[in-house]
């Protein structure tokens, strides 16, 4: 079960998720402090008031804009789950690469405080009793997730390519 801690409109950009002025900070171990830096939720994230496994529910085109991987690593650092009506391409790929859980759910309806449950095919809003269909991730991204993220996947491929030498 995941509690909804933040609901967002369409077209939330990576500048909102991780403002450009913090981009000199690059390491996944350091980026979580700047998640939604200009918004109230930042303080709650930093003070540990938001439990790992909590959900953000967003509209269409979540993560549009910059390719900055910090936008995915900053949310991954708090182990948030992002349920959105849709995602921008690079953000979705970065999330798969880093292991940030993303769920494409075009009809999702949820409010802050609602409890969500995820089945392979549906998001169930336990608070309202409504169920919403999940669109499976593109195969190309699921392969990376199944391998445990892109670092692990690349390492395996590297050993296949160079290991024999």
């Amino acid at each position: 079960m995941a509690q909804v801690v933040l609901t967002l409109a369409d077209d939330i950009s990576t500048d909102v998720i991780y403002p450009g002025r913090f981009m000199a900070t690059v390491l996944p171990s350091e980026t979580p402090q700047f998640a939604f830096a200009d918004y109230e939720i930042n303080a709650r994230l930093k003070s540990g008031q938001i439990a790992p496994g909590s959900a953000i529910v967003a509209g269409a085109n979540f993560g549009c804009g910059s390719s900055r991987e910090q936008a995915a690593s900053t949310l991954k650092g708090h182990e948030l789950i992002v349920v959105a009506k849709g995602f921008a391409r690079i953000f979705l790929q970065n999330s798969a690469n880093l292991g940030l859980r993303t769920i494409i759910c075009p009809d999702i309806e949820a409010s802050v405080g609602d409890e969500l449950e995820f089945t392979p095919a549906e998001v169930v809003n336990k608070t309202t009793g409504k169920r919403f269909e999940i669109v499976p991730l593109p195969k190309a991204r699921q392969d990376i997730i199944d391998a445990g993220g892109l670092i692990a996947y690349t390492r395996k491929r590297l050993l296949e390519a160079r290991g024999a030498a």
Partner: protein, 426 residues
């Protein structure tokens, strides 16, 4: 069944005779570009090699480009240290396409790549920057990726698990009228199909409005294709592409002038009548809130910005200098100009444009990205409004979530600098 440009490029790069939309391929990469976020790519690259017993060496140092442009010269010790680590890595790995903070070779990555002839028609280009879509201007398939993905490219020279994207065909009939620029065309398109209208797809540009457009304008429209969500924009290589690469970029190798098949299949065809277009403005805080200039004319502005990977080229500076020459930037307005590269800066200097702009009251900054994304100079105060030729107006983009950014062409920006309010340049 015929193929689009991106299908042809991916088929070639994946060693196949043809590929279908939606198929997963692993294309070989011809050019891999990073900037300051190369510091993160390095970190992930070393992570990949950890525990393998293998020496961390890149697959081909001649195919990696690193351009320092986002925070130049460094604004903080942290950035300076990242840049120092990148220099050490470049030297150790023998990376040749490295552009440091220097007046004889530096600039913004999306200008450096074409002007040095690194980008060619038919290539697969990836960059750890979303505006890598720019290089479709020369007929390449060029798209933005994350740093961890780039680490994989550095290690193996391939990009894993790419789904062959569908293509939207945009046909621009007629030519742009006087005072209407390529920026207006792309803003109009983004406004009409929305910020996610081309998500996971490629936009192929056709028609006389595009074939008659100089390569500088093609870079503008491909650059901003990502603001409609596109994986890449592509302009089929033609005589102008060849002229640019031969005459301006000094390329002498044979060129692969890849063109789409006549019976290629498109997900959508959009026709635009260039002659009917007016100057366009993208209003805060999304790039698809686009209005013709007359609907927003009169909005007071505090800062005007001309420059960036979108509109910092010689043609753009020339438009601005022509409008500002012998006149004065309005009181209460700060006008910032940052050319897209030092080569452009030097040429604008030689032609007297920079003097005309400075005499009018503009501040000419060094080439770089900092102001556009609010990381280095040109930040906005609370409640202030910027009018900018850059590519994004997201909340907080220019360093302040309590400010507003409008996007426009260099002609609108220059005309508005004279009046202090958003102004139609015609």
């Amino acid at each position: 069944m015929g193929m689009t440009i991106v299908q042809k490029i991916l088929a070639r790069a994946a060693g196949r005779s043809e590929v279908a939309v939606g198929e997963v391929v692993e294309p070989a990469v011809d050019l891999a570009m990073s900037h300051e976020n190369g510091a993160l790519v390095m970190n992930q690259f070393f992570e990949v090699f950890k525990g393998t017993g293998l020496e961390p060496t890149v697959w081909d140092p001649s195919k990696i480009a690193i351009i320092l442009d986002h925070r130049v010269p460094a604004e903080s010790a942290k950035t300076a240290t990242n840049q120092k680590k990148i220099r050490e890595f470049v030297a150790k790995q023998g990376i040749t396409k490295f552009h440091d903070i220097r007046g004889d070779q530096g600039g913004i990555c999306h200008q450096i790549l074409p002007e040095h002839g690194y980008t060619r028609p038919g290539q697969v280009i990836v960059g750890t920057d979303s505006h890598t879509t720019s290089h479709g201007a020369v007929g390449a398939f060029s798209f933005g990726i994350g740093a961890t993905e780039m680490a994989g490219v550095w290690a193996l020279g391939r990009i894993f698990n790419v789904e062959v994207p569908a293509t939207i065909k945009v046909v621009v009939n007629g030519v742009l009228p006087e005072g209407v620029l390529p920026k207006d065309l792309i803003l109009h398109l983004i406004g009409s199909i929305s910020a996610e209208g081309a998500n996971f797809q490629v936009i192929e540009f056709h028609g006389r409005g595009v074939t008659s457009m100089p390569l500088s304008g093609r870079l503008t429209i491909c650059n901003m294709s990502v603001e409609a969500g596109a994986t890449s924009g592509i302009v089929p290589a033609d005589a102008e592409t060849e002229r640019y690469l031969r005459e301006e970029a000094g390329v002498t190798d044979p060129l692969d002038m890849v063109a789409p098949d006549a019976d290629a299949e498109y997900s959508r065809v959009i026709e635009i009548d260039a002659a009917s277009l007016a100057p366009q403005i993208a209003c805060p805080h999304t790039v698809d809130r686009v209005r013709p200039v007359d609907q927003v004319a009169g909005v007071k502005v505090h800062q005007i910005v001309i420059g960036s990977c979108t509109n910092g080229r010689l043609d753009d500076l020339e438009v601005a200098a022509r409008i500002l020459k012998g006149r004065r930037v309005a009181n209460g307005v700060r006008m910032l100009i940052f050319p897209a590269s030092w080569r452009i800066y030097r040429e604008a200097l030689r032609r007297g444009m920079l003097a005309e702009l400075v005499d009018a009251g503009a501040v000419v900054m060094n080439p770089g990205c900092g102001c556009c994304l609010g990381v280095h100079q040109g930040a906005l105060g609370d409640g202030e409004v910027a009018l900018s030729t850059t590519n994004r107006n997201f909340k907080g983009r220019m360093g302040n979530p309590n400010a507003e950014v409008y996007l426009c062409s260099p002609a609108v920006a220059a005309a508005s600098a004279l009046t202090g309010v958003i102004t139609d340049p015609r």
